[in-house]
């Protein structure tokens, strides 16, 4: 019913963006207090582009690269976990700090509560093993398959890595093909190479993904 030709209606229908921002942040805090915030999320800038971080009250549940399309990722979280989703940075302060430290080369391990509810069965078992591969080390898909007790399930290990809901934190980038090639990566091969370079003492070229 906005009728911009009528100054009264135009005035009533003028938005107050500053108040909206304040009220949104207050809502996020109140939702947390009332235990209504099933999924909190924020984004962080990284050398590998903008990362989406999402957490339940159990812990970090999703890390997503830009190329996954953050709107689609949030919609998937809505469908799989709960529609009670708000941009609420506070719950992710510690996560964001550890990501910044990691990309600065100052952190080798993420020390965070993780929520693995988006991974099931064998994939969940693979992710559990990935957490044991140390910073700066790599394993092959075949080695990971053997370590999880299903030596022939090499392709399934590849799928588990490709669908890892917590890339970077659960280091699927440390898994390579037996011939030494990179294999695949949810964030793209440039990102995988960049992470491996970072972990071998290098730094990440900020322009690596800008092509």
């Amino acid at each position: 019913m906005i009728n911009s030709s009528d100054p009264v209606l135009a005035a009533i229908n003028t938005d107050d963006a500053e108040a909206m921002a304040r009220l949104h942040d207050q809502l996020a805090v109140a939702a947390e207090v009332d235990r209504l915030l099933d999924v909190a999320y924020r984004t962080v800038d990284s050398p590998l582009g903008t990362l989406l971080l999402a957490a339940t009250d159990q812990g970090l549940v999703r890390v997503a690269y830009d190329r996954e399309d953050h709107d689609q990722v949030l919609q998937a979280l809505c469908n799989q976990i709960s529609p009670r989703i708000l941009r609420a940075p506070r719950r992710l302060d510690q996560v964001a700090r550890q990501f910044a430290e990691y990309f600065a080369g100052e952190r080798r391990d993420f020390v965070l509560p993780l929520d693995f509810r988006l991974a099931h069965g064998f994939r969940r078992a693979v992710l559990g093993h990935l957490g044991l591969i140390n910073y700066g080390h790599t394993e092959t898909y075949a080695e990971v398959a053997a370590a999880t007790g299903r030596a022939r399930a090499v392709r399934a290990v590849g799928t588990a890595c490709a669908t890892n809901p917590l890339p970077v934190v659960v280091p699927c980038h440390r898994v390579l093909r037996s011939d030494g090639k990179l294999g695949g990566y949810i964030g793209g091969l440039e990102a995988k190479a960049a992470l491996l370079s970072l972990e071998s003492g290098g730094t990440i070229d900020r322009n690596i993904l800008s092509r």
């Binding site: 019913m1 906005i2 009728n3 911009s4 100054p7 009264v8 209606l9 135009a10 005035a11 009533i12 229908n13 003028t14 938005d15 107050d16 963006a17 108040a19 909206m20 009220l23 949104h24 207050q26 809502l27 109140a30 939702a31 009332d34 209504l36 999924v39 999320y41 949030l74 919609q75 979280l77 809505c78 469908n79 709960s82 529609p83 009670r84 989703i85 708000l86 941009r87």
Partner: protein, 164 residues
């Protein structure tokens, strides 16, 4: 398919805030917005997928606003009836202030203006919210807008118009 609640806040939050501010004086209006969206967040998983979300939010906001009006009329001196909310809660009307002009309207006119001209509800739905007939709702909105024009536009300070 439900969308993340964040999208609901982004899409409808500004409209609901304007509705709250048309119906209530600040800071009550902002409190009503907060209570509306917290209640909506609580109920959202059970909302029908094909529900009209804005009408749903406005209905919640209407109830929250009534709660706040009642609480205020209990707090205020007995002379302050619910229909007039002049200068309560530290809110000072002044000439040329649209919100002051709104505050001088009877509650029903403010509600009719807010729900029809801000939220875009048809008069039948406005009537369902505020009570009375569809015609009465239309009249209340009409009278409200006419009074606003008189009080607000007669003052010299008309802010720049917003493009729709």
């Amino acid at each position: 398919m439900k969308r993340p609640f964040e999208e609901i806040v982004a899409e409808h939050g500004p409209t609901v805030l304007r509705v709250c501010r048309a119906v209530l004086a600040r800071p009550d209006a902002d409190d009503a917005w907060s209570e509306t969206f917290l209640a909506a967040l609580r109920a959202y998983p059970d909302l029908a997928d094909n529900a009209n979300i804005e009408a749903w939010l406005v209905t919640i906001a209407h109830r929250k606003a009534i709660d706040l009006l009642r609480a205020e009329s209990r707090r205020a001196a007995p002379v302050a009836v619910a229909g007039t909310r002049l200068a309560v809660g530290g809110w000072e009307p002044s000439d040329g202030d649209l919100w002051a002009a709104l505050g001088a309207l009877p509650t029903k006119q403010r509600q009719a203006v807010a729900y029809h001209h801000v939220a875009g509800l048809p008069y039948a739905e406005v009537a369902a919210l505020v009570g009375g007939s569809t015609d009465a709702a239309r009249r209340a909105a009409h009278d409200g807008i006419r009074a606003l024009r008189r009080r607000y536009l007669n003052s010299a300070t008309v802010p720049p118009q917003k493009e729709s």
